[in-house]
Amino acid sequence: MEETVQHFKKRSPKRKQERFGKTISLVATIFIVSIVFSILFFVASRGLRTFTEHGVSAIDFFAGTAWRPGEVSDAGEPLVGAFPMIAGSFLVTIFSALLATPFALGAAIFMTEISPKTGKKYLQPVIELLVGIPSVVYGFIGLTVIVPFIRQIFGGTGFGVLAATLVLFVMILPTTTSMAVDTLNAVPRYYREASFAMGATRWQTIYKVVLRAASPGLLTAVIFGMARAFGEALAVQMVIGNAALVPDSLTTPASTLTSILTMNMGNTVLGTLENDVLWSLATILLFMSLFFNILTRWIGKKGAMK
């Protein structure tokens, strides 16, 4: 009896190993979490200085339309209205998602429901390739093909929201498509069988059963695409024109949060208002990506409850 108790009390090598593994993963987790929080804290604390140190009012910042950091208005207020960039960011995100979603869904339906063989053999590799292309390449193509094309058709410079939308459309298409494909593939076969067995056509089955059963996942795919579009800097900066103006047409130069950030980050002095407002823009970006993240999680949870 005593011996048995001793036996169980003694730590076996396996248990030691287990503890070791647990310790390592705990340390790694703490490390990652603390990095994330330091970034959040760092960016937000700088971003807030615009309001605390420099006394810019939140309304002037979020709703103001004049963006000339370093200059002041007649009333002596600094001209740091971020509304043009906020509007630009939302516009290109929404437009590119609106454009990409039907194509992504169509491609995903083709690859999973209509012709899985061709899909696997040809489309899948193409899409994987597209995902991997660096954004500067997309931007470069946009600059040399799309911008001149728009210039020819609509006149003006060709730079603007339309060019950015088209570039982003191509960029988020593969992301959204491949996520949509995964979602559709995850719809159990027996839903399709049940639908066919009730005399549904293939199209009815796709439309009324498969897409519907997959809708939370498809929504997530679209939001992932939007998150990518919202956060994309380089490619957008190359084609949008980077004029901090509220876009009054799709083909006049505009700007986004990211494009203004990448343009100006290196040209300002630390601690000045010019620098701190950029951090404010970065803070908005950060919170938006947090928002997209929470949204997808929330949809996932709601979908799982169904």
């Binding site: 159990p188 027996y190 839903y191 069988e193 049940a194 639908s195 066919f196 067995a197 009730m198 005399g199 549904a200 056509t201 009815q204 009324k208 059963v209 519907r212 059963a213 169904k306």
Partner: protein, 252 residues
Amino acid sequence: MNEQIVSTENVHLYYGDFEALKGISMEFYDNQITALIGPSGCGKSTYLRLINRMNDLIPGVKITGKVNYDGKNVYDEGTDTVELRKKIGMVFQQPNPFPFSIYENVAYGLKIAGMKDKNKIDEIVERSLRKAAIWNEVKDKLDENALALSGGQQQRVCIARVLAIEPDVILLDEPTSALDPISSGKIERMLEELKKEYTIIIVTHNMQQASRISDRTAFFLDGNLIEVDDTRKIFTNPEKKETEDYISGRFG
């Protein structure tokens, strides 16, 4: 005498090179339950799915012979499988309701057939759920997700879903094998009620079930139909030695 509704003539089915059905001829009659029995892998499901052309969905399937329904061979060129499957409904082994509400599950077949009249749909949904002996259990939660029901309830919703499109023939592939005895009993009693209006073909591994509810029983072995006869005859005095061995539990 019951009217002959479905019959097969010398049907062979190949999955690629593998011959899963080796020349099967038999008839199915109105207002009767025909049970298909036989050891696992003998081709019962394959044979059942042949009748409403569900095997068409599997790549590499080749079929010869005839399946007659409504005076025509369902494998004729011009057959509309969509129409065919509305007339020959199917219930699967695993309850497979759509992840929608109970109401939408039962109304599905009506909606895809283009029915718009809400009152009529409501009426058919209720009637179908009543026939499937589940109305009382779900009438207060028609808008709840069907996946939240128990397995036995889900299966009855699936049966109601098929009844709603008013088929002539109902194919059931081991509909109670995933269910507890009480749920199975409910479904058995329901089937006995339903046979007054339909032709029912049921695959089952449960000998008692076959002998309890079916009028005729067909015994399959290795892709062959060994024997088909009145259920009482099959279970008391079969013609073939293999049948006797199987029902007395000597193999399979």
